[in-house]
Subunit: 382 residues, 3 copies
C-alpha cells in the first residue's frame, strides 16, 4: 500500500500480519491495450455506454488513487499517463512493483479462468509470497468432457480428477451462480440422474456447463473431499441474474452439508452480504468473503465491510481481493481492505465499543488467521 | 436552497450546473387543505394511524427544514404556522418562491397523473426554467381505450399515439411495477396475444390497466421509438408489492432490450438501489435514478446516495426529485440531493479517495450532464 | 446503562422516559455454565465452529463492553473473569444489578419459550418495573393439542383460549416465519380447512406446528381479538429460511387485515428492515420493531437504526430488546438503543436537519410513547 496515501496515519492496518488472499485469479502476462485494461475495471462484459468510461467508477478511481504512486506518478493522474508509464515499465516490472505493495503473503488462486494469466506460483513469486491453487469445478468438468469418449469415461475421470485435485489444491470453487443460479436442489443427485444429465450434455457437444444436475454433482463431489468449497454468490458479470445469486438461496444446501465436515465459503456476497453474514453466524461450516465487493465500492468499502461485520462472527469473515487480470486489482483490493478495516477498528475502539486488544486480534483474524485455519495453511509462510 | 441552512459552508454543490430534474410531476394549482397537504408527504394513500401524523416522517421534517425560510419563516416552525403563511401567500407566489430556490434548470415532467396539476411549461415557468414532457404509457393507453370503438381501433390508435408522442416527449414512463409487478415475460407479446388481451380488457370496460400482456406491449411500443424508457422500480404507494418491484426482476427484459438502442432508466429503486446500480454497471443501456428516494430519507440521503454510488458508474446515475403535488417536494428533493452530494464529495476528496477535479466533474454529471446526454437535451437551456 | 461508558457525554438519551420493552423473554433463573452462556449470544442453535467462540461477535463484544462495570469489573474484561464474577454474585443479584441498569419501565414478555425462565412479573420485579404478558400463538396451540382428545375439542378450546388470553395479555405473537415462512395465503382458512388440518396434525401426534393452514388460523384468531399481533420477521435461529422471512412477503396479509382494526407489529426485520419500514410507512396498522437487531449489530446499531428511520414514520417504530435467557441481553439491547438513538438525534440536530424539540419528542415516542399507545398501556407505570 502506498506509504504516501493521503490522510493515512498509523492505524490498525500497521499491525496486521501478511494478508492471505484466499480467492484470486492470475494477472495478464502481457501488456493490455487501454480498452482491455478498462474492461478489467468492471464486471460488465460489454462496452461502456456512449459518453462513459469504465474509469469513471469506484474501481477506476481507486486504481487511480492507489497505483500511480507505485509507478512514480501522482495519485489521480490521468488514465492515459498511467497507462503510458505502465507500458514504459513493462508487464513484469509493473506486476512486481504492484504486487510487492499489497502486503499479501499467500495467494489462493483460482486457476479456472481462461487467458494468458499467471499461475499461483508465478503470481506469488512476483509478489514475494506463496501461491496455492484453487480448482474451479465447472472448468475441470468442461476440460474432462472435451476429452471423454463416453458418459462412463466422463463420470469416472471426473470423480478421479476431483479426488486428485483435493490432494494438491487448497479448495474448490463453484460458479453455479453463473450457470444456473443458487436455487438448486440441495441433495446430491442420484448416479442415474448424473449419468442421464452427462449423456445429454456430452451428446450436445459439452457446451458451457449449465445443467443443474451436473452442477450439483460437482458440488457434492467436492464436498466429499473435505476441502473447503468456495461458492460464488452476489454480483458478477451480467450472465448472472443477481436475484438468483442471493446466498440465502443456498440455505437448503447449507443444511444438507452441515454434517459433512466440509466448510462452505460464500464469495463476494454483495448486495446480499448481510444475508451471507447471517448464514456464517448460524451455521458452523459457513464462512463469508469480502473479495470483489470492497474493490468495486471504493471509499464505501468501510461502510460495506461494516455491514458484513454486523452479523458475521469475527472468526467467519475472510479477506480476499478476487483480483483478475490486472495487478492493480490486488493493490486496490488490499489497500481498500486495510483502509476500511483500520477505519472501523479505529472508530469502534475510540468509541469504547471494542478494546484495543480485541481490535488487533480480530483484524489479524480477518486478514489472515481465519483463512489459515479454514484452508489448513501453515501459521506463516516459509 | 436556503442560504441560511444550518451547518452549510461552501461545498461541491456551489459549483453545480443548473439541475436537470429528469423525472417529476406537476404541482397543485390550488391551495391544498392541511390534510391534503400532509397526504403528499407520504407514499401512503390512506389516513395516518391514530395518534400519528405524516409530518412526523423524514419527508415532513425535511419540508419543515428547508421550506419555511423561503416563505420568511424560521426553519422547523410548526406545520400550522407554515400552512397559514402558505395560504397567505397563495399558491402562485408559493410555487414561484419555492421552485426558484431549487436550482433546477430543466423539468422532465410526467404528465400522466390526474388532478389539477401544472404542466411541464407551466411548472418550468414558475421555476424560471425549461419544461419537457414525459409520457406515461398506461395513462395513454387508458385514455385511448376510453374512446376506442373496438380492439383494432384501440391497437392502431395506440401504436400511432406512441409514435406521435416520441416526436414531442423526451421519454416514456412505465408503471408496470404498480400494475403487475416487474416479473414480466421479457419479450414483446405477439400481435395475436395483444389483440386477445385488448379485446378482453375493452370488453370489461377498460378498467385500470393491469394486464401483463398489454403492459409488455406498451413497453415494447415505447422501446421501438428509441426514446429512453423510465421504469418505476422500488417503493411507491401501497398498491404496489415492494418485493415485486425489485429492479433485479427486470434482468431478462434488460437483456431482451440490450440491442435495441433504447435506454432504460430505473426510477427510485429503493430499497433495491444497490441492485439497480449493479444493473446500470453491467448493462450499457441501463441507468439509475435517485428521485423519490432522497426526498423520503431526509438526513439519510447522504448514506443512500452513497449506496447508489457503490456500483453505479458515475455516468449512469441521474438526479430527479419525483416531486408531485407540492412545490415543497421540489425544494426538498433538490436540497437533499445537493447536500448529500456535497457531503460525499467533500468526504471522499478529504480522504484522498477522489481528486477535487474528479469530484466536480462527477457532481456535474449526476446533477445534469448524464440526463442531458441520455435524453438528448441541449447542453444548456436557452 | 453504565455511567462510565467510554465516550459518552450528555445526549438525547438522558431525557428519555423509562423504556417500554415491547417484546422480550424471560431470563434464566439459574446460573448457566460458560458454554450455555455463550450460546445465548448467538442466534445459532449449534456449537461454534472449531477455533471460534460466540464471544467473538458484536453481541459478545457488546456484553463485554456494557456489563462488567455493572458487576464491578472493567469493561472488556475476559469472558472468564466476567463469568467468575457472575457466579460469585449469583443469578438473583446479577439479574437485579443488570436489569436495574437498563432504564426499562415496562416489560412486554413473550411467555411461550421453554426453559426455567422468569415470567413477566418476576422479570419486571427484578428490574423495578412492570411486566405484561404476550401470548405466543403456536405454543398455546401446541399446549392445547397435547391435552385435546379430538379435533373438535382442540378447535373449540383453542378459540376460547385465544379469546381468554386477549383479556389478560397485551399482545399475541406469531412465529409463522419459523414454522413455514411468511409466504402464507393471506385470508383466514375456512372452518373445514381448519378442521382437516387439525385432524391430520393431531393424528400425527401434534408435533411442532408447521401446518400453514393452522398457522393462518392462529393469526386470524388473534386478529379477531383486536389485540396487537407481533409477527417474527427477518433473522433468527437457523430453522428459519432468511429469504422466507422477508416482511414484504406479508404484504397480502397486511392488506387482508387492513380493515380489522388490529395492529400488526413486525419484529426484528433485519436485514429486511427497510422493507418493514416501508410497510409501516404505507399501511396505518403496521408497525416495525428494532429488537434483536440492535443487540446483534453492536456499534453498527446506529447505522441500522438510521436505516429503519429512513421510511418508518416516527410514530411507527418501537423499541424492544428481544432479550432471552441472559439479563445481559437486556443491558445490551437498551444501551445500544440509547447510544444509537442519541448519536442519530445528535447528528441530525447538529446538522440542522431536525430541531432539538422534535428530536426529544421523537426519541420519547420510539422509546416508550408509541408502544404505550399501540398496546394500550397507562401513560406511566404505577
Amino acid at each position: 500500500m502506498p506509504a504516501d496515501a493521503p490522510g493515512r496515519g498509523p492505524g490498525f492496518d500497521d499491525g496486521l500480519p501478511p494478508l492471505v488472499d484466499h480467492h484470486c485469479h492470475g494477472v495478464l502476462r502481457h501488456e493490455p491495450d487501454p480498452r482491455a485494461f478498462a474492461g478489467y475495471l468492471t464486471e460488465s462484459d460489454r462496452p461502456p455506454a456512449a459518453g462513459t468510461t469504465f474509469f469513471d467508477t469506484q474501481a477506476g478511481f481507486a486504481v487511480r488513487r492507489w497505483c500511480p504512486p507505485l509507478l512514480d506518478l501522482p495519485a489521480h493522474c490521468s488514465p492515459e499517463s498511467y497507462l503510458a508509464r505502465r507500458r514504459e515499465l513493462g508487464p513484469d516490472e509493473t506486476r512486481r512493483r504492484l504486487l510487492r505493495a499489497t502486503g499479501i503473503g499467500a495467494y489462493l488462486l483460482d486457476t479456472g479462468l481462461p487467458g494468458d494469466l499467471t499461475g499461483p506460483a508465478e503470481t506469488a513469486e512476483a509478489g514475494g509470497a506463496t501461491g496455492y491453487p484453487v480448482v474451479r469445478l465447472e472448468a475441470l468438468a468442461e476440460r474432462i468432457a472435451a476429452a471423454a469418449h463416453d458418459t462412463e469415461e466422463f463420470t469416472d475421470v471426473l470423480a478421479g480428477a476431483v479426488q486428485a485435485a483435493a490432494r494438491t489444491a487448497v479448495a474448490f470453487k463453484s460458479v453455479a451462480a453463473y450457470r444456473h443460479g443458487l436455487a438448486l436442489d440441495p441433495g446430491p443427485p442420484t448416479p442415474d440422474a448424473v449419468r442421464a444429465a452427462a449423456r445429454s450434455w456430452l451428446a450436445a457437444g459439452a457446451p458451457r456447463l449449465t445443467d443443474p444436475v451436473l452442477l450439483r454433482h460437482l458440488i457434492w463431489l467436492a464436498v466429499a473431499t473435505g476441502r473447503p468449497l468456495q461458492l460464488h454468490t452476489g454480483f458478477g458479470d451480467p450472465d448472472l441474474r443477481l436475484d438468483h445469486a442471493d446466498p440465502a438461496l443456498l440455505t437448503d444446501l447449507v443444511r444438507a452439508t452441515a454434517d459433512t465436515g466440509t466448510d462452505l465459503v460464500l464469495l463476494h456476497c454483495y448486495p446480499y452480504h448481510r444475508q451471507a453474514a447471517y448464514l456464517a453466524g448460524v451455521f458452523p461450516h459457513v464462512y463469508a468473503d469480502i473479495g470483489l465487493t470492497l474493490t468495486h465500492t471504493g471509499p464505501r468499502a468501510t461502510a460495506v465491510l461494516a455491514e458484513f461485520l454486523e452479523l458475521a462472527p469475527f472468526g467467519k469473515l475472510l479477506f480476499s481481493t478476487d483480483a483478475y487480470g490486472l495487478p492493480e486489482l490486488y493493490v486496490v483490493g488490499s489497500a481498500l481492505f486495510r483502509t476500511a478495516l483500520s477505519a472501523l477498528l479505529g472508530e469502534w475502539t475510540a468509541g469504547g465499543a471494542w478494546s484495543q486488544e480485541d481490535a488487533r486480534r480480530v483484524g489479524a483474524m480477518i486478514a489472515a488467521g481465519n483463512a489459515r485455519r479454514v484452508y489448513g495453511l501453515p501459521p506463516t509462510e516459509p
